[in-house]
Symmetry: C2
Subunit: 283 residues, 2 copies
């Protein structure tokens, strides 16, 4: 079976054609500009490719409830041209195939669950720490959804007492994303995260904040595996530092599975492979 | 169909016989003493009742993974006589019917989801604030489970700056349960919660802590409905105070569903009705 996949991000749309085992046969990437413009490039890419169905991992906010009249419509995004854009229904009518859409992070969680670092786990959480912080999860074999898709990046954390930085979240100021996403690191320490590798204090603080969030995810969801990716997680040793902080915070209250916190098995392909997997159950 | 249900608590075992619609026909309650003693009373109760299957909501820690060799065995509990007790397999072999077991809070969540305050919701969370704080959830139509059952009562919260009480959790000291369960209220203010109704400050602080936890549950799970029960939640107006704090914390980042935080629809029957529902899918 040939399926189509789109990773619809805020800066680019990655399109791919692949099979039901997650193998990507062909891909292309287009800048996210105006909806009609970007989608035209998408339609051109898929033209003649004979895909059976399409899976989409989309930037948010987006309505991900399959039974909603607005399923697949972009919500209140700062990218104003995309606000209220009916992404799924446009794709469906122009391509003439079934389409399933979920959040970008749920797609990445699904990719890692089916073909990546969590492929032998019954449940998993995928978290990306980059320009923002977001997470998706697989629970009872399905992507996690509720009244809205989860927004796990905005958890409240306890401040490190040495941290005078006020936080960068426009909603909550010093929530997790406001304190620990890449732009917060840069604003606090005056340099991009990738330029701060030699400063131990940067990564201690980062690990402390991220470990608190991992503690909450663990207590609430108890996933068998937590896959941590995104630009900031490229810092060598950060996974281990977070694991150590997590153990200190949890105080053995729950025994953690072996190899609990891991980097993505699919590297930067988690999202597009997950989107391909979404296509398999598109209706 | 006639089903059996047990709410296996740390102080008492509630047993019931009922039907697939959640109607309880008969019930009895026995003190939790030694396993053999308590179970003998349970067996006597069910003797001749001709149940098709049994559902159990159990105190924890307990192994709730149906494919585990220790499914239904009690874990490392302070009630030493129950430690490592194979509750499910004893019930199954003595009663000779299929048995399904989940945590007490997951059973309560299931009861409220099928027949209580969350019966029109697609997902829900049930939280009890009493001697301890615990929560269960229904996600994708099933009780939420991961590598271990969730332990949502031990989330970290930000301390109220006026709160000098160090916290009561033996693991984390000032986690949610350590700061906001009934015994913490009593230790901090010098009287049982039900004697403190006239002191506004008690309930402001309580609402602040509980709202932080509800914020985390909301961001991680996004349940359509949150049912809040347990002794402490009997305080009139507390649900509304928590809702208000929650709105302040969330800053409209996620629009909350109408009637999001509600008291249990089944009052104190959520757990036993949920256990009855577990029986329907016992294997
Ligand atoms: N190798 C790296 N080490 C540490 N931080 C990095 C690295 N690469 C990128 N970052 C940081 O990650 C952020 C970008 O995140 P990224 O995941 O690459 O993109 P996005 O989240 O926009 O998809 C920036 O703040 C950047 O400073
Ligand atoms: N009406 C009430 N108002 C406020 N707090 C109460 C009330 N009833 C019980 N509590 C408090 O709730 C705790 C007991 O919780 P409860 O849910 O009744 O039992 P348990 O959690 O042991 O099953 C005690 O700390 C008690 O002070
Ligand atoms: Zn925020
Ligand atoms: Zn605790």
């Amino acid at each position: 079976m040939r399926y189509g996949a789109i990773e619809a991000g805020g800066t680019k749309f990655v399109c791919a054609v692949g099979d039901e085992h997650g193998n990507i046969e062909e891909r292309a990437s287009f800048p996210t500009t105006k909806p009609e413009e970007t989608l035209q490039l998408v339609f051109d890419f898929f033209h003649g490719k004979q895909i059976e169905a399409l899976g989409v991992g989309a930037f948010g906010p987006v309505d991900v409830k399959e039974d909603s009249p607005n399923y697949g419509t972009i919500g209140n995004t700062p990218k104003l041209q995309w606000k209220d854009y009916p992404l799924l229904s446009e794709l469906k009518s122009r391509l003439g195939v079934p389409v399933r859409l979920d959040t970008d992070v749920n797609a990445a969680a699904l990719g890692e669950y089916m073909h990546g670092a969590a492929k032998h786990a019954d449940s998993c959480l995928y978290i990306t720490v980059g320009t923002g912080i977001g997470a998706g999860a697989i629970v009872n074999g399905e992507t996690l959804q509720g009244f809205s898709h989860p927004e796990m990046g905005h958890l409240l954390v306890r401040r490190n007492t040495n941290d005078a930085y006020p936080g960068k979240c426009p909603y909550h100021k010093d929530c997790l994303e406001g304190l620990a996403a890449g732009p917060a690191i840069e604003a606090r320490w005056g340099e991009k995260a990738q330029k701060l590798y030699h400063q131990e204090a940067v990564w201690q603080m980062e690990a402390y904040y991220l470990a608190q969030a991992i503690m909450s995810y663990t207590l609430v969801l108890s996933p068998e595996k937590i896959v941590m990716g995104g630009g900031v997680m490229k810092k060598q040793g950060l996974h281990e530092m977070i694991q150590q902080e997590l153990e200190t915070l949890l105080q053995r209250y729950v025994p953690l599975p072996e190899n609990y916190l891991v980097p993505p098995g699919l590297e930067d392909n988690a999202g597009i492979v997950g989107a391909l997997m979404l296509a398999k159950t598109a209706k």
